[in-house]
Amino acid sequence: MKNIFLALFVALLMTISPKSSQAETIQDILNTHEAAIAKGSRKTIEPAIAALRDSGLPEAQKILEIWQAKELWQRKADKAFFTAEKDSGSTYNLFDVVTGAAEGQADKKELKQIKPNSGVRGLIGAALVQFQLLDADIDKRREALVAIGRDPNASHLPALRGAIDGEPDPQIKAEKIRLERLLSVQYETDTEARITAIQSLKGDLGVDARAALNPLLATKRIAVLGEAEGNIARELEPGDDDFSQNEAYALLVNSGLAQPVPSSDDIRNALAANIDQGSVAGIPTAQLSNEETRLKAYNTLAENGIVPPAISAAEQRALVAAHKYFEVYDIADSRITDAAQDTLDSIELKVGMSQAIDLGLDGLSLASIYFLAAIGLAITFGVMGVINMAHGEFIMMGAYTGYVVQQIIPDYTLSIIVALPAAFAVTFAAGVAMERLVIRFLYNRPLETLLATFGISVALQQLAKNIFGTQARPLTSPAWLDGALTFNDVVSISYIRIAIFVLALVFLVLFLFIMKRTRLGLEVRAVTQNPRMASSMGINPDRINMLTFGLGSGIAGIAGVAIGLFAKVTSELGSDYIVQSFMTVVVGGVGNIWGTLAGAAMIGGLQKGIEWMNPSNTLAAQTYMIVFIIIFIQFRPKGIIALKGRAAGD
């Protein structure tokens, strides 16, 4: 206790006595605040730190740093401060805190190490910022800016202003200017300068800008009898959406303008507390099972003065109607709040536009994922008309292939380059095997194809579970795909998604090239349109069907590698995409790659759009999307781009 008083006394002295900094040396300051420094309590340390910070002495920074690093020692005998170094045994060499000159030796028992706690170190750090802003080391200056941004404080403002002009690095200078504005918005005392700072933030997308501006517009609600005073944001009308009658009454109660209404719980408790021989206020308890009787009993109690009176709804309404309600800004000056509102509006507009762009990018990337998952189906289902429920499992096989390749080749870049063709090879083989063994016997029975491939899908999924276990396996992307392409604080897109978008485009081009420009594509189209005519022209339909199915399955495998890069690889990976993939193909229009593209764009965009309207709930987004698709198919049963004429088949 005594120490605290002493420290307080010293602190008091410091604030009262005018500074005579000219005559002071660093040792003087340390001596003056010796007690507070030695005590190291966060409550009393401020004057000591302030004295060092504001001393204007070149050594101050060094002292503060030594102090913060717990390297400051005090000799108990004369309370003088040193830095110390262990010599031998318990003997320490002492050095002058400023010059570093040797000051003799002392035993450990004679010394006390000053160990400021984390709170005090924080305060010292804040004081050091001023010096760090001017530090020769560019990293130190950057750190200082980050430190200020994290924990802004009015005292930083002058330090920051003083550090702008001398800044050699243009980038840091810009950051300093921006931070100076943010601090001015919050702490500047001169109204004109503050408004200028506020207006200069117009269109600034940074989260910190909004964080600095929002507190200026903090409001509180008041209830008054006459007209309100102060900087009024708006008048509230009881019964509005955000200001119900009950809220109005609660505000009155809080302002001391009305008596609190006993809640139904209060009434029950009051009644229970006043039971007298099985009845309350003359009413038997058995009858108290509805609100009216309870209120009647309570009112009787109130008349007898046992409980505070209940206030009827009509009285409540009358009281609420008798008052006026306002939202009042905490800041009294309307010029500041107007400027802040104006600036925030302009920021919100820009943020809204950026969010729309960001949403568009998200939708695009989701669409490219769906497109990638569905493009294999567009071949097997769209071109050949074969329902392959195991398509999702081919995607899964591709992803697991990528995982296995990564186990063998540790270099991520190389392993991805190997994994893509490997996945294609594996799923191509699986697809060809499936076509030869199962599907070719069922070409005339589409429903049974569906069921047989479903059987294969169940078996493959369980096989994957048996081999790889149920836990998710990681498929790590190479380092150059980490991170995101950032346009501004709102709009950004991760490189993996860009890579998937590019991959989707590559496959679109590849598909078009194979179908329109190669012999295989020609034969595929011929077999699809009329197998008998095609075979009479020397095309082997069996071989073409096999290759086409293999191609579709192989692309599914590559999609699996791409999907595995951002989603965990599990045996259920494929089944998560299968329904969406079929939706994409069906919505887009069977048998047309552009239709698939349109379907993917529509489904991806739609899902993101619904998520944006109801951001908390991706499940709801999927639900509504599927419902939308079901309704959409009512109006365009053949999809967005329907085949016409003979190609439509049937």
Binding site: S264, R268, L271, A272, I275, V280, T285, A286, L288, S289, N290, E291, R294, I387, M389, V438, F441, L442, N444, R445, P446, L447, E448, L450, L451, A452, F454, G455, I456, S457, V458, A459, L460, Q461, Q462, L463, K465, N466, P531, R532, S575, V579, F582, M583, V586, N617, L619, A620, Q622, T623, I626, V627, I629, I630, I631, I633, Q634, F635, P637
Partner: protein, 410 residues
């Protein structure tokens, strides 16, 4: 035409006799009658299997006879379960709440009781208000009506939309699958008011009948399931036996030709779709009180596909085939996944059926589709001597059944 319905369909009588015999045997041997040969949990398993047989009949009706491969009938099954589950849960919670509040000095108001019920039921999803869809949960009659009405109405609206725009074949299958997915995703949300992924639980306890042991309750439900299965079988047999049956088989084999003959194909399909949805819902309403818990996972699209698997393995286009398939596969599945099946040591690897049962099921299903499209029911043809006309070629499935061999090969 003066022969009676049973005389024309002897299989119905045989089936009913078998079912009665089975029910009687199980009842006598069950715990509830003191014999104790069959445990209560196994009685429940058998009861549940009967319910699955009932929904398999519905599936056979809509797929095997009418050619609509619906991948959504388990959604109706689950909806039926939810409807009855709401009453079971609400009524039982109401009793518990009323009991605990009755001890208070002041009798509770209706509002207080409903608040307490809301807290009990919806506490797990962080709410206490009773959602609007629970408005009638306190009335058994209305909820029983909902068991039929809600899935029936959903099937009617969905079917009307789908058939109206002539969505057929695999497109319809995918569409029904999407509907199931949407429904289960919707129920997974806490906002749906049906307790999200927690589902409804404690359904095995009948409100007000806490004194009756589970062994007896399980027998009641077993009998009810057997009765429902018997009635459902007769109804289905009656539907497919007359002229109506001929029309829907005609739709299965060639929709366009039936339409050209002047029949309203959409009307027939819609009727069959809705009727089977209602049968499925009734099966669900009997199934979930025996299972004790229902959650949206039960309605995932995969469940409906398994249903198709059962019917296909049992044999489409014959009602007893569906029953045999559902009973056999679901019981085998319980046996294998329950860890009762013996492991097979291969020396280098031991096949544990818990892990490998699905692989076996998947591949045997492919084998059935490829080599035995008539399923297990086809074995009966060997006995009765019912032969398909010799077409000198590959077997034609129901879809292409009406085409001549040359046409079908194309």
């Amino acid at each position: 035409m003066n022969k009676s319905f049973f005389a024309r369909n002897p299989s119905v009588l045989i089936f009913i006799a078998c079912l009665a015999l089975f029910t009687l045997t199980v009842s006598v041997l069950a715990d509830g009658f003191g014999a104790g040969v069959i445990s209560t949990s196994f009685v429940k398993t058998l009861g549940k299997t009967l319910c699955l047989c009932l929904i398999a009949i519905a599936m056979d009706l809509v797929w095997g006879y009418c050619g609509i491969l619906s991948l959504g009938h388990f959604a109706f099954f689950g909806l039926g379960g939810y409807m009855i589950g709401m009453w079971l849960m609400y009524a039982r919670t109401e009793l518990i709440v009323a009991n605990s509040l009755a001890e208070a000095e002041i009798p509770p108001t209706a509002q207080e009781i409903s608040d307490a019920i809301g807290n009990q039921i919806f506490g797990v999803v962080g709410g206490s208000d009773i959602p609007l869809i629970w408005s009638f949960a306190d009335s058994l009659t209305i909820q029983l009506a909902f068991v039929v009405l809600v899935p029936g109405l959903l099937a009617l609206v969905f079917g009307w939309l789908a058939f109206r725009s002539r969505v057929t074949g695999v497109y319809l299958s995918i569409l029904t699958q999407a509907m199931t997915l949407a429904l289960s995703l919707y129920l997974f949300q806490n906002e749906s008011g049906l307790r999200g992924n927690n589902g409804l639980s404690g359904l095995q306890n009948l409100p007000g009948l806490d004194d009756v042991p589970q062994s007896t309750v399980s027998l009641w439900f077993f009998w009810a399931s057997a009765l429902a299965l018997g009635l459902g079988y007769m109804l289905a047999a009656w539907v497919v036996s007359g002229k109506f049956g001929s029309v829907i088989r005609g739709i299965r084999d060639d929709e366009a030709r039936v339409r050209f003959l002047g029949y309203s194909v959409e009307g027939y399909k819609l009727f069959v779709f809705t009727l089977t949805a209602v049968i499925a819902a009734i099966a669900g309403a009997l199934y979930y009180p025996q299972a004790g818990i229902i959650n949206p996972g039960e309605m995932a699209p995969i469940a409906s596909i398994y249903l198709a698997v059962w019917v296909a393995i049992g044999g489409r286009g014959r009602l007893y085939g569906a029953v045999i398939g559902a009973a056999l596969v679901s019981l085998l599945s319980t046996w294998f996944t329950g860890g009762q099946a013996p492991d097979i040591p291969l020396g280098f690897y031991t096949i544990q059926w818990v892990d490998w049962w699905l692989v076996l099921l998947g591949f045997s299903f492919v084998a059935v589709t490829l080599f035995a499209p008539r399923g297990i029911g086809g074995l009966f043809d060997l006995y009765t001597g019912r032969h398909a006309p010799n077409r000198h070629g590959a077997d034609l499935g129901p879809d292409m059944g009406s085409l001549r061999e040359k046409e079908a090969d194309e």
